[in-house]
């Protein structure tokens, strides 16, 4: 989500071009792996790298439109909401991303929130 969150603890993770178009990379954090996606339109999304179905690594899936298909059992997750699409149910926790002229950062706060929720 490219939102202008006020005053967050932004952590730089790299350049948008480090991620293949219609692809994803991972960021390792103490709170688990974060998947960072780049769509065909150069929108960037980040979320927990864990499918709500059986924990599959979403970063390894095929990115299409603003969705990703999990490599293990083909659950389709919306990158915009983190929710499973179609008949499936489940939700992945999103992480705030900031894109400033291609330099990407994720919000530490949202990582902390993830931990708090666990």
């Amino acid at each position: 989500m490219e939102t202008n969150w006020p005053d967050k603890n932004w952590i730089e993770i790299g350049d948008i071009h480090d991620i293949p178009v219609r692809g994803a990379r991972c960021v390792k954090t103490p709170h688990g792996r974060i998947a960072v996606f780049r769509t065909a339109e150069d929108h960037v999304y980040a979320m927990e790298d864990r499918c709500p179905h059986k924990g599959g690594p979403l970063s390894q899936g095929i990115v299409h439109g603003t969705s990703v298909t999990c490599p293990l059992h083909n659950m389709v997750i919306s990158l915009e909401t983190g929710r499973a699409l179609g008949a499936d149910e489940g939700e992945v926790r999103s992480v705030a991303v900031r894109n400033r002229d291609g330099m990407l950062s994720i919000a530490l706060d949202s990582l902390m929130l993830m931990v708090a929720a666990e």
């Binding site: 480090d18 991620i19 991972c26 065909a40 390894q60 095929i62 490599p71």
Partner: protein
């Protein structure tokens, strides 16, 4: 004794007549057919899609050899009839066959008109009439250059489009001021001309051909005004004339065609004429719909009925992909006539209705033709349109309040509304057959009613009728779309990729009108495979459209780790290789080592970041990727054969290794597993593999289409060959045929079931030329495919795949 029915000609009209005859009175006649062409009955309307590469000859066959056998029809192929003896009641062919008849049907069709300008006999001057002409044109396209088409009628323009699609430059010469002047008024002709220009076809109107230039072959043409156009072939598509000569020589009354009465009978009570050679009430028809109507009448007459053919109103559709054009009836202007015209220049829509006494007498639709059938129905019926005149031009959806959905629109049609124009099938016949025969698929409906079985443009309507009749139990997607992003099925997509020369995923999605911006996880890997297969040298593999396993060249496991399987050629290994594997297992603390069913070793539980280092170590010992993750060649399992075994008949191990070295790296629609057994005891279990070989004393028995997964199925025998070289060629050709025709994720046994075992045997075992073609294409493709993906990645390719983008908040804590 049975009466004998002899038919001269084997085109669509007599074919249809026989279908009617066999349905209503099977076994009434002994039927003998003389066919001047050396083949069975095929759909002549579909020659244009064959020329443009959008269909194959096999797709347009109406009656295969088995149809003639099943109905006890004697078919003399390549037998041109030279004489009819009406006194003796016999016909004789050029190749010396004489048959006596009780009833004779002349269905000699028509001949293309060749303008007798100087040079018209030069090699390279072609007509556009039958499959031979199409083959000659396709042959010419291989040499490239410019094709000159004389005549911008329906056939001429379809020929021009086909030749353009095959890569030639095309110029169309037309004598009249506007093109297709018999079917189109000038505004529609203008729009069509523009659309064809946009497709790169040059059109010169008001041009009269003076002579064809060339010494011993066509080099161009010269027009009356002195212009010279260079070209390598000249296609004459200026019209047809009924082939009535044979009847005339026999003393049957002819005019322009063979004159028949309303019962299709000629001046001789035992002789009938049918199709384009016949002249009925002064009209010779050249379109299929009227011919089918008269075929029905004739069949009825032959069984003693009294039905009468009273002539037809005809309509026309141009078969140029992406151009929608419909024309019917008479649209000349006149004092007693009025017209309603709708134009939308931006959308490229032009519609014109010609009215007389509040009835539609003619219709021209360009750009949007969905209402063609509705208007045509009203023309034939003479419907009074005064009530709906204000909204008539907007079409059926705008009659009576709110727009109808398509099913409701079909529901609103009267029972006798014509649905299939080619075959003259009305709504009630289709609905009646669906109910009476319990039909549930489009193919069934085609088989029983012929609706949508010729040009196919009414398929949508027929499907709507099925929905209407069967309710929710009918799933109209008989052609299963590839996915939700398109209505097209896999086969159509594959064909169009080749025919339209589409070479990237965005090009496919744009040209084939994908409904999503960048596809989905179902269509993208399929398209990527089709493009890799069809353009091995030109297409740049799109890794983001591959499943993770094929993207990182290892198999993802349930916990997100990967397994790695190095190739062991033919399942043979040695101490050095095993030692290297053992060292890798120790070094990377690989938790599980497992022998696979394909005779090699699987290393499980490897972290993604470690993959390049694991491959580097394996590579030093000579290992390459086993592609255990690929929709491609996996393993070739072998037994020890003549090298060791008491029973071995051939070197099965050596041949297995040779096969694997030849075929590794190739991508296939689904995984491909092979095995070679040295004797019929079959220790390599070759008879449940995708492709298997059983060695015998006399050679190599090639098997295929086995399965031992979700389905269990023994293989089918492809055939026996004598030498190892032959076995290799046959197996590789078979694999290539599957690569070119299989739908993505369709295993070879499912593909084989779909296309038919006999057809595969015919092409691979029976047709050396086809086999060589497949083999050569496989070999060409391999020059690009045989690159070890592991060593590429050890050298740094796709580095980003194996490293996290960043590590945050852990540096201090963990290291």
């Amino acid at each position: 004794m049975k009466q004998k029915l002899v038919i001269i000609g084997n085109g669509m009209a007599p074919g249809r007549m026989l279908e009617e005859l066999f349905e209503q009175a099977p076994g009434l006649y002994d039927v003998v057919i003389f066919n001047a062409e050396p083949r069975v009955n095929y759909d002549r309307i579909m020659l244009s899609p064959v020329l443009s590469g959008e269909k194959l000859y096999e797709d347009i066959v109406i009656h295969g050899d088995d149809w003639y056998a099943r109905h006890g029809v004697t078919l003399h192929k390549g037998a041109k009839v030279t004489g009819i003896d009406r006194t003796a009641k016999t016909v004789t062919s050029a190749n010396g066959v004489t048959e006596a008849y009780d009833k004779l049907v002349i269905a000699t069709g028509s001949l293309p008109f060749i303008i007798p300008v100087p040079g018209h006999t030069l090699p390279g001057v072609l007509a556009y009439r039958d499959l031979d002409d199409v083959e000659k044109m396709l042959d010419a396209t291989k040499r490239g250059g410019r094709a000159i088409v004389i005549g911008a009628g329906l056939l001429g323009l379809e020929a021009a489009y086909g030749l353009k699609r095959q890569g030639m430059d095309v110029t169309v010469i037309h004598i009249m001021p506007t093109i297709m002047e018999r079917q189109l008024d000038p505004p529609a002709a203008y729009l069509l001309e523009k659309a064809l220009n946009d497709r790169g076809i040059e059109i010169i109107t008001k041009a009269n051909t003076k002579r064809i230039v060339g010494e011993d072959k066509v080099e161009g043409i010269e027009l009356e005004d002195g212009r010279v156009i260079e070209g390598t072939i000249v296609v004459m598509a200026v019209g047809i004339r009924p082939a009535a000569q044979l009847a005339k020589e026999a003393g049957v009354v002819t005019n322009r065609g063979i004159v028949v009465d309303d019962g299709m009978m000629t001046s001789d009570g035992s002789i009938y004429a049918l199709g384009e050679c016949a002249e009925h009430r002064g009209v010779c028809y050249g379109l299929v719909a009227p011919l089918y109507e008269s075929a029905k009448t004739l069949a009825d007459r032959l069984i003693g009925g009294a039905s009468e053919y009273r002539g037809s109103v005809v309509n026309t559709k141009l078969k140029v992909t992406g151009i929608n054009l419909f024309s019917a009836g008479d649209f000349a202007e006149g004092e007693d006539r009025e017209e309603i015209v709708l134009r939308d220049a931006t959308a490229g829509v032009y519609k014109r209705l010609v009215l007389k006494d509040n009835r539609i007498v003619g219709a021209v639709l360009y750009g949007e033709t969905a209402d063609g059938a509705w208007f045509f129905d009203m023309i034939k019926r003479g419907t009074d349109i005064s009530e709906m005149r204000d909204t008539l031009i907007f079409g059926q959806a705008y009659q009576g309040g709110s727009p109808l959905d398509p099913t409701a629109a079909v529901a609103a049609l009267p029972d006798d509304a014509e649905i299939c124009g080619c075959n003259g099938v009305c709504k009630s016949k289709i609905v009646g057959k669906i109910t009476a025969k319990g039909l549930t698929s489009l193919d069934d409906v085609r088989a029983h009613t012929k609706a949508s079985a010729s040009c196919g443009s009414c398929t949508g309507l027929v499907e709507q009728l099925m929905v209407l009749t069967l309710g929710d139990s009918y799933n109209p997607a008989v052609v299963q779309p590839m996915c939700k992003c398109t209505e097209l099925g896999h086969d159509d997509v594959r064909r169009l990729i080749v025919a339209k020369g589409l070479k990237t995923i965005p090009a496919v999605m744009q040209e084939l009108e994908w409904k999503t911006s960048c596809g989905c996880a179902k269509c993208r890997p399929a398209l990527n495979y089709y493009l890799v297969c069809d353009w091995p040298d030109e297409y740049a593999d799109d890794y983001q459209s591959r499943f993770i396993n094929e993207r990182v060249h290892a198999n993802i496991q349930k916990d997100g780790t990967y397994s790695v399987v190095p190739r062991m050629w033919g399942g043979v290994t040695n101490a050095g290789e095993l030692r290297a594997i053992a060292d890798v297992v120790d070094k990377f603390e690989i938790p599980m080592v497992k022998v696979t069913g394909g005779q090699r070793i699987d290393l499980l539980g490897i972290h993604k970041e470690d993959l390049p280092a694991v491959w580097a170590d394996l590579g030093k010992a000579g290992f390459v990727s086993g592609q255990a993750y690929a929709k491609g060649l996996r393993t070739v399992k072998t037994c020890v054969g003549t090298d060791w075994c008491r029973f071995g008949t051939q070197d099965s191990t050596g041949f297995g290794i040779r096969l694997e070295k030849f075929m590794w790296g190739s991508w296939t629609p689904a995984k491909l597993k092979l095995a070679v057994s040295g004797c019929p005891r079959n220790c390599a279990e070759a008879t449940c593999k995708d492709i298997g070989v059983i060695c015998v004393d006399s050679g190599y028995e090639i098997h295929f289409a086995g399965a031992a997964g979700l389905d269990i199925k023994g293989t089918e025998v492809l055939g026996l060959v004598a030498t190892e070289d032959e076995a290799l060629e046959h197996i590789v050709a078979l694999a290539q045929m599957y690569r070119e025709q299989g739908r993505y994720l369709e295993r070879i046994y499912k593909w084989a079931k779909r296309v038919g075992l006999d057809e595969i045997r015919r092409q691979i075992m029976g047709d050396a030329e086809k086999r060589k073609g497949y083999f050569d294409r496989f070999v060409f493709s391999q020059t690009f495919a045989q690159v070890d993906p592991w060593s590429e990645r050890v050298s740094g390719k796709d580095k980003h795949e194996f490293k996290p983008m960043a590590v945050v908040g852990m540096a201090e804590a963990a290291e």
